[in-house]
Amino acid sequence: MTTTETVIRYLFLAAAACFVIGLHLMNSPKTARRGNLLSAAAMAVGIGATAVLLIAEGAITTTGWLVLLAGAAVGSAAGLYLARSVEMTAMPQLVSLFNAVGGGAAALLAVEHLLQAETVHVRETIPGGLDILIGAVTFSGSVVAAGKLQGLIPGRPIVFLGARALNVVLGLVFVGSTAWLVLDEGNLVAMLLLLVAATVFGVTMVLPIGGADMPVVISLLNAFTGTAVAMAGFVLGEVVLIVAGALVGASGAILTKLMADAMNRSITNIILGGFGTGDEAATADDSGGTVRSVSADDVAIQLAYAQKVVVVPGYGLAAAQAQHELASLAEILEGHGVEVSYAIHPVAGRMPGHMNVLLAEAQVPYPALREMDEINPDFPQVDVALVIGANDVTNPIARKPGNPMSGMPILDVDKARSIVVVKRSMGHGYAGIDNTLYSDPKTGMFFTDAKKGMVALAAAVRSFVA
């Protein structure tokens, strides 16, 4: 190893350490931004050091430089444009796309490395095969997930005849082509076969999963990308790729587990089951008990004379883009001396923690956002629980055994002194069962679109407190 190379290896090590420290700083909203900047700086050092390494070794041709610079320019421009222009509601799609490109890059570089290397060892072909497999599955799976979230592909589970048989065949192709790749070191046909089979599998894996299960899918694909990058590190013998990939793999795995737990379902059940219906809940009106319908003025009086209001936002709020209107309603109430906080269920939104970002965008201060376990004991002291576009996460039936939702952790909204539910119709949530909260005598149903409802409430409250 030359001196330059040694220095660069130490820089890589420093970068890896900074990634860990950066993630650690993400523990608190106060330091999170600094953590991200530290991580970005470490990445810049890593990329700069790699460029120096390439120059020092002089191994790269002029064409190579042109390709590298062109790729860097195109990729950076695309990434910057997407990052600057994305709506916060479209965040899950963007994260999914970045998963796709990360996984895709990992798969491509394994193909390229195995193709060009003069001698290939088993210790490169095995992780290489895994890299191609995981990377390609992540690539196509993430593209499909992003398409579903963007509404380009229907959110409902798409199941086709023979899907299971096809998956078995694809599984056999994985094993066969990886074995071929290992035995006939770096065979191009074997790699292509693996690449194509994995790409098809990514599609058939995500298509049957409903839109409502996307938080879990995105987390899982995030874990996959991390693993693919770590495998790329094994192939190239780069420690920094292994460390960074392992970190991301672990973070994805933890979030996947948290999401699945919050839905009271196993990961296998989500991947194989696919009963999430997506965004459109059934509109059939077959409510069990009688419900009490209330007007904007009724709700405004309740809110204006309350001491403690807890807002329970769900995806319906985000889908109607009503977070800004909600924030201004809360501002009026707070100005009137009402204590307003927000109860956030772990699966609210379309990816882990999505609702927090949407509310942060509407300038809701983060200390007002309370997690489920933290706020549940407080509900008996709450005067009005305002449920907006959330359904299953408030259904008290989850505490009773013998139904699809049994055991799912819920917000104890029914324990509040009174409840107002803002909802477009009596439609079901994605679990497809009646919400017994709606027929509770304490509950008033305010049937409207979330955005119009918030505007009407704000106007009504203003006229009372003025």
């Binding site: 909203p29 990445m43 191994a59 790729g71 780069e238 420690v239 882990p352 923690g353 927090n356 997690e371």
Partner: protein, 102 residues
């Protein structure tokens, strides 16, 4: 670089454990920025993409290298910028609201 398989596996396993340790402490409020931040970190793959450009040869080789580099840079740049944009929104008390607090 020549890397002993045992060393590589050791690094991987320890990396996963450190990841579990660090990430399980992040509050749910920050899960989206966390995932987005983790997303940017897997953009490290761009270093690998740059290294393989050096060994690339022929049209197919350069095409693969170009795609890998472009994907990697999109991941790194986009990931960090959007994470920063998101974290910028997390404020304890927005300036606009300070006057209305009673």
């Amino acid at each position: 670089m020549e890397l002993d398989l045992l060393t590589a596996v050791t690094v991987f396993v320890l990396g996963v454990l450190v990841g579990f340790e660090v990430i399980s402490k992040v509050p749910a409020t920050l899960h989206t920025p966390l995932m987005s931040g983790a997303n940017s970190i897997h953009g490290i793959v761009v270093i690998g993409a740059m290294l393989i450009t050096a060994t690339a040869d022929g049209f197919l080789g350069y095409l693969l290298a170009f795609l890998a580099v472009a994907f990697g840079f999109a991941n790194v740049v986009g990931g960090y910028v959007v994470t920063d944009r998101m974290l910028h929104m997390f404020k304890a008390r927005p300036a606009a609201k300070e006057g209305s607090a009673s």
